[in-house]
């Protein structure tokens, strides 16, 4: 678990920032000025004193070698996590001007690191002991049965609402507006089916989503109906599809797949946020297994999810898959070393193959919106007001999704390409392609687009 020699880039450090303001504030502190007694240890600890406005400097310490991701501690009063001082110190450490020399951690830093590692060990031991005697199995089964009944009632009620809607016609949905869906979504929350609730909420937004809304509304109603029916008849489904239905409904699963140890390349990391929750998606590609896996991490509103993996690095770690046919989601298990520069790229396919793979993936999961894919040798090409990724060696092209067209990352991609072929990782689905990371032709590091 050593860290020496491996520096992060500024981008990688800034990716840890919980918001734009922190990123900005952290950047400013990434210079030697306010720091004193900064240092780092062979074990992956970085510490320093940062002069603030008060008389006592803040004590900042970061454990970058921890197996669950970087951990931070700072004596400043900020509620941001990591705070600007931790970001600034990491930037200073990432720079190459020798501002953070190797050395012996001061007592205050050492105490925290030791306490932390001890707690982590205790917890691991506790978990190991706990899983052996997981409460009362009979009570757990009763709870699960009770919840299944609630969901069944919810799904039946939703079916009723969908058939009512189709009986009266979608045209009336536009007139009745958003309130109807909000109320239905609330009923699905009561039924403890968060997956259904989220789909219902999205239905409510479709009538105001512009031209072509009736088609999109019918599609989503039909897929929601398909999910209801899947739940109601889950006993008759093959195991894999049944597990997919359970996860789409929103039942918690546990990553019980066999741990796969690999060198996992971090392909992309991006956040989406609503008023209550920030969701972070991290795509990984296994060098040996050839698998692409998705890690999800959550943070309460305004706080960054704790897991952060810099794009372009690899980590030697174990991943366990969540259940469900065609599902990419996995959980990060033990990490055997801190992330290090990758030195390889994911293999790519052409546009036709990418589309075909999405089609095939629908066999296992008909609710799949998109699928991770790396496109090799594609050229970002303007197509009227739209953009597409066109095969450099063929005549086929994939349009970008409407969301991707409006992101600033589009222009980083276009600039990187300059009309020449590039390798692009992204999500490919029925709305088009959403680019997340790109590599230039020839040598060059991964460029994040999201």
């Amino acid at each position: 678990m050593t860290q020496q020699g491996v520096r992060w880039t500024a981008d990688q450090v800034l990716a840890l920032a919980p918001d734009t303001a922190s990123r900005k504030a952290g950047s400013k502190l990434g210079a030697a000025g306010p720091w004193s007694e900064a240092g780092s240890s062979e074990e992956g600890t970085v510490w320093g004193l940062c002069r603030g406005s008060g008389s006592k400097p803040y004590r900042t310490v970061i454990d970058i070698a921890d197996s669950t991701g970087p951990a931070y501690k700072c004596s400043c009063p900020s509620r941001k996590f990591p705070c600007k001082h931790a970001l600034g110190l990491l930037l200073l450490w990432a720079g190459e001007d020798g501002a953070v020399p190797k050395g012996q951690a001061p007592d205050w830093a050492e105490e925290w690191i030791e306490g932390r590692r001890k707690r982590a060990d205790d917890k691991r031991a506790e978990d190991a002991a706990g899983s052996a005697s997981a409460g009362d199995p009979a009570a757990a089964r009763r709870r699960a049965e009770r919840r299944a009944e609630l969901i069944t009632a919810g799904a039946s009620e939703l079916e009723q609402r969908l058939t009512d809607l189709l009986r009266g016609g979608l045209a009336s949905a536009e007139r009745r507006g958003y309130g109807l869906w909000e109320e239905t979504a609330a009923r699905m929350v009561d039924a403890q089916a968060p997956g259904l609730a989220a789909r219902v909420r999205e239905l409510g937004a479709i009538p105001s989503s512009g031209p072509g809304w009736p088609v999109r509304l019918l599609e989503e109603c039909a897929l929601l109906h398909l999910l209801d029916q899947g739940w109601l008849r889950r006993a008759a489904l093959p195991d894999g599809l049944a597990a997919t239905v359970r996860s789409r409904i929103g039942l918690p699963g546990s990553a019980d797949g066999p741990p796969v140890r690999d060198r996992w390349l971090v392909l992309a990391q991006y956040d989406t946020a609503d008023s209550r929750l920030t969701t972070r998606r991290i795509w990984l590609y296994g060098a040996e297994s050839g698998r692409t896996a998705l890690l999800l991490s959550y943070g309460a509103a305004g706080r960054a999810p704790e897991l952060a993996l810099p794009v372009g690095l690899t980590l030697d770690a174990e991943l366990s898959a969540y259940p469900g046919a065609g599902q990419s989601r996995a959980a990060l298990g033990e990490r055997f070393a801190a992330p290090e520069p990758a030195g390889f790229r994911p293999p790519g396919v052409d546009v036709a193959r990418a589309v075909a793979e999405y089609g095939e993936a629908l066999r296992d999961d008909p609710w799949l919106e998109s699928r991770p894919v790396t496109l090799a040798r594609v050229i970002p090409t303007p197509d009227g007001d739209d953009w597409q990724l066109a095969d450099a060696d063929g005549e086929l092209a994939l349009p970008l999704t409407p969301a991707a067209r409006s992101r600033s990352g589009l222009w980083r991609l276009v600039a990187l390409s300059g009309g020449a072929p590039v390798t692009v990782f992204g999500e490919c689905g029925h709305r088009g392609f959403s680019p997340l990371t790109a590599w230039p032709q020839g040598a060059g590091e991964a460029v994040t687009l999201c």
Partner: protein
């Protein structure tokens, strides 16, 4: 997405959860369209085909739609590629060193609106360092990292001051991008000929074609480029079409003659004195007056000379019988004066005669005054008393002439000694005029004069003068600024009274000075006469200054010793 639903069942999965009697066998777009129509109208109004019981119709419709939706998605095909854009030519400049590339990312992340603003604290203002970073990178000839171009163009869009440096650094790929994004059109306007290489006088045919047929901006760029290369060729180009140009265009084109102005331009400018447009006439006159040997300068010398003389009898002679300068302003603005660019109508609130006098003296070659005023040096002339309150008018006109004719000895004389009491307050020569005069002096002399000014008068009036000094500041100037800041702190005022100078110091002080500033970054004990808390704020300001200097030193190292 070009969606071509495939009829084959191979491409469409049969969702196990949707057992359906409806039309899995039916296919194609028409079936889907029928489903959408029924769904829109509602099954009470229209029954989907193949359904007998009206009660089950909605479920049957949803079943069929589910199958069709998944089939449509699974059967999707890629579209045709649109016409490709022409790839950009390769940038042959060396790439940025990795540390410098990281620094650029950080500088660009610190854009206005990129976070909450407020009191600046001890952290450096990164966006203020971008211009210097760019200047250094350009001097070193590095190529911009392609992925940084959008952020660079966005930064240049909001800040015209850094546009030329950004566009030079960003290279041809930025212009290639600008053609694809309307937000960056400014890059095409700013680059001569939209980035294409301009023809020079060695390609007369292309040059003439562009001059005859080009857009206005292209023609201005062409003229400037040719003028810089071959002044005569540019003048010939201009003379060829002069009569047919619009007045505004003539004015813009005439301006290009400022570059490499010489006696050879005089005949052309003399003809322009008869131009239909008053603005063109005035500009031609101004250019001619900057040529001390020109006929116009000679005519103006005669007029101005007749207005200013030594008078030994007028008023009270100074001590030791010092002579006085007597001024007799012109009584009328005749046609000849007007033809030579003198504006007859005075602005509101100004006397006509003093208005005319100012213009005559401003346009007269400075060389006439020494012989005219008793063989005195400029220093001695400026020191002479001027009768009847004409001093301000006369000295002001001399200042404008010294700047126009770039005459260091007159500039020196009019600036006076920096420590003189009138240099800091309202004297005959204003601070704005002094700043312009300083611009005619050499870099070292300029810094020395301003250092002397600050030592004598403090910082409150120095801002304008500091702005014309070369960066990084010369040693004595830097020390004078730091000493003055230190004195201001000891005097107990708040640092924000000096925030302008402090900001300049962050950008202009030599990074090597950081060491000497260390002692000022501690919070001093509160003295009795100090404003409450001022000591802490000063410490913070000096910390920011030191941090910024360190950062500038790091930037320099990253870009020069990769």
């Amino acid at each position: 997405m070009t969606s071509s639903p495939v009829p084959a069942s191979a491409a469409a999965p049969a969702p196990a959860s949707a057992p359906t009697s409806a039309s899995t066998e039916a296919s194609g777009g028409s079936h889907w369209e029928e489903l959408v129509t029924v769904a829109l109208l509602g099954t009470t109004r229209r029954t989907p085909s193949g359904v007998t019981s009206r009660r089950d119709a909605p479920t049957a419709l949803l079943d069929a739609a589910a199958v069709e939706t998944v089939r449509r998605r699974a059967g999707m095909r890629p579209g045709r590629a649109a016409a490709r854009v022409e790839p950009v030519a390769e940038d042959t400049r060396p790439p940025l060193p990795p540390a410098a590339a990281r620094r650029l990312t950080m500088l660009l992340a610190d854009r206005p609106g990129a976070g909450s603003s407020g009191r600046r604290g001890a952290a450096p203002d990164l966006k203020e360092l971008l211009p210097q970073w760019l200047a250094t990178a350009n001097r070193q000839g590095f190529a911009a990292p392609p992925q940084a171009l959008p952020a660079l163009l966005d930064a240049a869009r909001g800040r015209t001051d850094i546009r030329p440096a950004v566009l030079a650094f960003a290279g041809p790929r930025a212009l290639w991008l600008a053609r694809l994004n309307a937000d960056w059109r400014f890059a095409l306007r700013a680059a001569p000929g939209g980035g294409a290489v301009l023809p020079g006088s060695e390609e007369p045919e292309r040059m003439h074609a562009l001059w005859e047929e080009g857009l206005f901006a292209e023609r201005v760029a062409l003229l400037a480029a040719v003028r810089a290369q071959d002044a005569g060729a540019a003048r010939d180009l201009l003379a060829g079409t002069w009569a047919s140009e619009r007045a505004e265009d003539r004015l813009m084109f005439l301006d290009s003659l400022r570059t490499g102005l010489s006696a050879a331009d005089e005949p052309f400018l003399e003809r322009a004195l008869a131009d239909r447009s008053r603005n063109v006439r005035a500009t031609a006159a101004e250019l001619l007056s900057a040529l001390p040997g020109s006929a116009l300068a000679g005519r103006m010398a005669e007029r101005a000379g007749s207005c200013v003389a030594i008078d030994r009898t007028h008023g009270t002679p100074g001590p030791h019988g010092t002579p006085t300068i007597a001024v007799e302003a012109p009584h009328e603005c005749d046609a000849g004066m007007e033809r030579d660019g003198v504006v007859a109508k005075a602005p509101a609130g100004r006397g006509e005669r003093s208005w005319w006098l100012g213009q005559l003296v401003e346009a007269a070659p400075l060389g006439i005054w020494s012989p005219r005023l008793g063989g005195r040096t400029p220093q001695e002339i400026v020191a002479l008393p001027v009768a009847d309150d004409w001093q301000g008018e006369l000295h002001g006109a001399w200042c404008r002439a010294a700047v126009r004719q770039r005459d260091p000895s007159w500039s020196r004389a009019l600036l006076g000694t920096p420590g003189a009491p009138e240099a800091g307050g309202p004297g005959a020569v204003s601070l704005a005029e002094r700043a312009k005069l300083l611009g005619t002096l050499g870099v070292e002399e300029r810094a020395e004069w301003v250092a002397g000014f600050i030592a004598a008068h403090g910082l409150s009036e120095a801002f304008q003068l500091l702005g014309v000094c070369a960066v990084p500041w010369a040693g004595p100037l830097g020390r004078a600024v730091v000493d003055a800041l230190n004195i201001a702190r000891d005097a107990g005022s708040y640092p924000w009274s000096f925030s302008g100078v402090m900001g300049l110091a962050e950008r202009c002080l030599d990074p090597a000075e950081a060491v000497r500033l260390e002692g000022l970054t501690a919070v001093p004990d509160e003295s009795e006469n100090a404003a409450p808390g001022a000591g802490g704020y000063w410490a913070e300001s000096f910390q920011r200054l030191v941090t910024t200097l360190r950062l500038r030193a790091a930037i320099q190292t990253e870009l020069t010793h990769p």
